[in-house]
């Protein structure tokens, strides 16, 4: 109903591959970007700081992981460790006196390099073995961070994110932090949006579909898997740094433990492998649904609708949340991106049922 496709045509093959040929999609993206840019004016600090901000940061992280899982078809159970490396190293670099812009790149690079080392070791193996290898990375990094006080910040194992400036402006207050996170998120998003259109993206897809078939068409699977690990870890490191500087403002090892890795994987799977919008939706569901369900149940309880003890009450959102995830995956195994896609298709063919052949 909203999608008007008439008059969309391409006079060059290049134009045929443009990102959003459909005007409604373009308008949607423009509206979303405009909303994101104006969010600090539109939303209260509560929603900006506790919902939107973590959401875009986690979406950034999920995008990075999705590059590896969705595009290149590899699994990674130690993504939180990658983020931890980025977060800690960026903080230490800033403390050493370098500007934030350089530090975050440095953090990303360090994550990428360490991620690559693990990638090397891990990519000798496939599937479940790879899952276990990356899990080992998670444990190893956890252990190092929490045992080396020089990294973790002394006996309290907490490291404050130092005050920092971006482009000469001091970043203080939710609004500035939000814009920094948004900028990073937009850069990563546009990178991923374009991955599918480049030879890099197609090589990754080839490796994902069948790595030996990829080899036969001249795509070195090992090289591209490593490249995927590298890029994904770089994005993860940067997301970790943004998480530390713009959201937590302090890092502790618990913020990057195995649970967090699992959450990141859940975001990607629930959102939809290989989908940009899926990464956003997945991050939203995994990150925000528990909070919202919690508030919903709490509101119901306050209204007297749920006469039960606090302990039972606090488990209801968990049950709902679990049900929600299982429900979504049963309903649509390809994730929220596919749900969105179905919805989009429903309107694309409006008022018909089927796409014309």
């Amino acid at each position: 109903m909203f999608y008007r496709l008439a008059g969309i045509r391409h006079t060059r093959y290049a134009a045929d591959r443009q990102l959003w040929p459909v005007p409604v999609d373009r308008a949607q993206i423009a509206a979303l970007t405009a909303f994101a840019a104006a969010a600090p004016l539109l939303l209260s600090n509560l929603y900006l700081g506790s919902y939107l901000l973590p959401w875009i940061i986690w979406s950034t992280a999920a995008l990075g992981l999705n590059l590896l899982m969705g595009w290149a078809g590899q699994i990674h159970l130690g993504y939180a460790a990658v983020m931890a490396i980025g977060a800690y190293s960026t903080i230490h670099i800033v403390r050493a006196g370098l500007p934030f812009e350089l530090a975050i790149i440095g953090g990303g690079l360090l994550s990428a390099v360490i991620g690559l080392v693990f990638g090397f070791a891990a990519l000798r193996v496939k599937g479940l073995y790879l899952a276990i290898s990356t899990l080992a990375m998670q444990y190893l990094v956890d252990w190092i961070v929490s045992h080396v006080q020089a990294i973790s910040g002394g006996s309290q194992a907490t490291l404050q994110a130092p005050a920092f400036r971006v482009l000469g402006l001091p970043v203080a207050g939710d609004m500035m932090r939000y814009y920094v996170a948004l900028a990073v998120c937009l850069v990563v998003t546009s990178f991923l949006l374009n991955v599918g259109r480049t030879s890099f993206g197609r090589a990754l897809a080839a490796v994902r579909e069948k790595d030996f078939a990829a080899a036969i068409v001249g795509v070195d699977p090992f090289y591209f898997k490593l490249l995927a690990f590298w890029c994904s870890s770089f994005v993860g490191g940067i997301a970790g740094a943004v998480l530390a500087f713009c959201y937590y403002r302090a890092v502790t090892p618990e913020q990057f433990n195995l649970d967090v890795s699992i959450q990141a994987v859940a975001m990607v799977i629930v959102g939809g492998l290989g989908s940009v919008i899926g990464s956003y939706l997945g991050a939203a569901l995994v990150l925000l649904a528990p909070i919202m369900l919690n508030n919903l149940v709490a509101a119901l309880a306050r209204a007297g609708a749920l006469p039960m003890s606090e302990e039972v009450l606090s488990h209801i959102p968990l049950i709902l949340y679990g049900g929600l995830i299982v429900g979504f995956l049963l309903f649509e195994p390809l994730g929220l991106a596919k749900v969105y896609d179905n919805l989009r298709n429903y309107f694309l063919v409006w008022p018909f049922r089927h796409a014309r052949r």
Partner: protein, 260 residues
Amino acid sequence: MLSLGNVEVVYDRVFLAVKGVSIEVSEGGMVALLGANGAGKSTTLKAISGLLMPERGEVTRGEVRFNGRDVAHLSPPERVRLGIAHVLEGRRVFEHLTPDENLIAATSMHRDRRRIAELREKVYGYFPRLKERLSTKAGYLSGGEQQMLAIGRALMIEPKLLMLDEPSLGLAPYLVDEIFAILEQLNRDGVGILLVEQNAAAALDIASDAYLIENGRIVMSGAAGTLKENPDIQEFYLGRAGRKDYHAVKHYRRRKRWLA
């Protein structure tokens, strides 16, 4: 035995693959389903065997009856138990098992070990070549042998209806002859066969009836002999075998009317 009534299949909720397909296979009949690439042949077979699910397909209308029973809502294993065997396109044998293990793998529904042994012998009777390669891993068999194994594996469930998807794909002509001869033999032994083929000439030779599917719709049906004589079929599917050489392949844009 098998009767499809106005089956409509939709993939991914919006992509209409086949529409209003009605097919009959009589007890012990041999029916060919012809059509170009992407016409909906494999989709039709999958609608019968129930394999649409993994590809996000769905029978949205019509009925699939097997021996009078509506099987459209049964799971693939349940349909196999009723005697519907589907030999997939591209010979999906279990590559890391030997031919023998491949055959046994298809007998999980049998309890009777003696019966299994008998069946195995019967399959080897049809395909003596397999017996020669008994202990090789199936992945190392030649394409033709793999195809035979795939058919043999389907036979292990003692099908009443055997559906084959492009059994001649990528095989040498003499192997095609061999396999088709076996299919004829099977048919004489009472197995109903629904054959999907691009090799229309070979299929029309052994089938008794044929359907022609185009753009997801049946456009022509009738006795195999009649179809074979139809000039349109000859033009589009039989390539006027023998009358034109390859130098004379024409780049015509032809409207297909399918008059019969």
